[in-house]
């Protein structure tokens, strides 16, 4: 597998009980790509994203992060906890509900994993964390606790926290869906900056104009199947399936 493939998903299937939520999904994300995943509620977007870092275990198929298989080893046996954690650390995930650790201040939220998972020296981790805080526009909040931040600020901290792992790919699951409308912009602006800087990202979103502006590949999921994948211009201006046409009509 070439070095430049950040995420490679092959023949991925996943069921909950007897409902098949993902069906033979194939997806290649090259380094530097920004892929947005669109689809109706319940179409399997979150499940797909969560399979990438093995928060959900797929039933079939394989996922490689930067050439390394996650979840199962080459002989198909389950990875040990340590090995799994190490591959997971190659991905950075940003959740809809932020999921910051409330007992740690902003700076320590960001340095926690670099120090205690990656074994970085504290001063190095803190210097990096402050750079990331500057990047997301929160330099003045380093000592603040998550409970005192607005939703938009929390999400920007969560982005900085994920970036601190220097991941091969950033995974975003509806990063603005829990935010008041006036706070959505500040978070999307940060993600746009990241795409301009060449970060590899997979983004689940309901923000159509954002998806159009930020991505170079749009994937549309319907009942667990990828029914359309295209560059954003083709996708939004000349959708080839009626399913996507209908979806776009409903989402302005």
């Amino acid at each position: 597998m070439p070095e430049t493939t950040a995420v490679s998903i092959r023949q991925l299937s996943k069921s909950f009980a007897d409902v098949e939520v993902l069906r033979d999904v194939n997806l290649e994300v090259a380094a530097g790509d920004v892929v947005t995943i669109l689809g109706a509620s319940g179409s399997g977007k979150s499940t797909l994203l969560r399979c990438i870092n093995w928060l959900e275990q797929p039933d079939r198929g394989s996922i490689h992060i930067a050439g390394e298989r996650i979840g199962l080893d080459d002989s198909g046996k389950r990875m040990g906890a340590k090995a799994l954690a190490r591959v997971r650390a190659k991905t950075g995930m940003v959740f809809q509900s932020f999921n910051l650790w409330p007992h740690l201040n902003v700076l320590h939220n960001i340095t926690e994993a670099p120090i205690h998972v990656m074994g970085k020296p504290r001063d190095e981790a803190e210097t990096h964390a402050r750079e990331l805080l500057a990047k997301v526009g929160l330099s003045d909040k380093a000592e603040a606790y998550p409970g005192t931040l607005s939703g938009g600020q929390k999400q920007r901290v969560a982005i900085a926290r994920a970036l601190a792992m220097q991941p091969e790919v950033m995974l975003f699951d509806e990063p603005t869906s829990a935010l008041d409308p006036e706070l959505v912009g500040e978070v999307l602006a940060v993600i746009k900056d990241l795409s301009a800087e060449g970060y590899t990202m997979v983004i689940v979103t309901h923000e159509m104009s954002f998806a159009r502006a930020v991505s170079n590949q749009v994937v549309f999921l319907d009942k667990g199947l990828i029914v359309e994948r295209a560059d954003p211009e083709s996708f939004f201006d000349r959708p080839s399936t009626t399913r996507v046409q209908r979806f776009l009509e409903n989402h302005g």
Binding site: L55, A81, R88, H103, V117, M118, L171
Partner: protein, 221 residues
């Protein structure tokens, strides 16, 4: 000589008893706290036979009067040829007994711990042990602070039962003085004063600790 004067002259005995009680209490409550944390860790993850047995053990302990446990350890075990030192068996019994209470307190808080934080930790490459020690446990301890304070007082009071298995602590000192001079009321009033003073001091300290959590949004007092 008035009863109070007699007690004043015996102040060294009270003091020695008090120090002994504090030693027993300090050691056993530290042990209990650690046992509670460790049991909470053992209960992490999917249900299993081992976890079920641990739950049964914890509940069995919680539903047992502490006095019975002390009796069993001190009088029961020798019939099986196991002879324990009274002081250490008292400390051990207190630690295990209150450890089970701590485990149950923590478990209640663990049940409502936000799953999202766990997923965030997993996504950031945390393994179970580190996640527990650095992310889960500190929050659980902050969250349960008032209950921990309550448990400290229970444990302090339970040290008094050790008089029955011949441990020379505060209540034992009062017991022997009241027996010698027949002044039970005054002797026990003094002891009550000691227990109250320590309990109040602990309450104040635990309350002060609340500021630590309040800064982080854990207390809304």
């Amino acid at each position: 000589m008035s009863n109070w004067e007699i007690l004043w002259q015996a102040r060294d005995e009270f003091w020695a008893g008090f120090l002994s009680t504090m030693q027993i209490f300090g050691l056993s409550i530290t042990g209990a706290f650690l046992i509670g944390c460790f049991m909470l860790y053992l209960l992490e993850g999917r249900p299993s036979g081992g976890k079920l047995s641990l739950r049964v053990f914890i509940d069995g302990m919680r539903m047992l009067p502490f006095l019975m446990l002390a009796y069993l350890l001190y009088y029961g075990l020798p019939t099986f040829g196991i002879r324990l030192d009274a002081w250490w068996s008292g400390v051990g019994a207190l630690a295990v007994y209150h450890g089970c209470y701590f485990a149950e307190i923590f478990r209640g808080s663990r049940l409502v711990f936000p799953q999202g934080q766990i997923e965030a930790a997993e996504a950031h490459g945390f393994t179970r042990g580190k996640m527990f020690l650095r992310l889960i446990l500190p929050q659980i301890v902050m969250q349960t602070r008032p209950l921990i304070g309550n448990q400290l007082i229970y444990a302090l009071k339970d040290t008094a039962f050790l008089v029955i298995i011949t441990v020379r602590e505060l209540t034992a000192a009062a017991n022997s003085l009241s027996g010698t001079y027949f002044i039970p009321t005054e002797a026990f009033l003094v002891v009550i004063g000691f227990y109250w003073a320590v309990s109040i001091a602990m309450e104040i300290i635990i309350k002060q600790c609340g500021r630590f959590g309040a800064k982080r949004g854990f207390d809304h007092a």
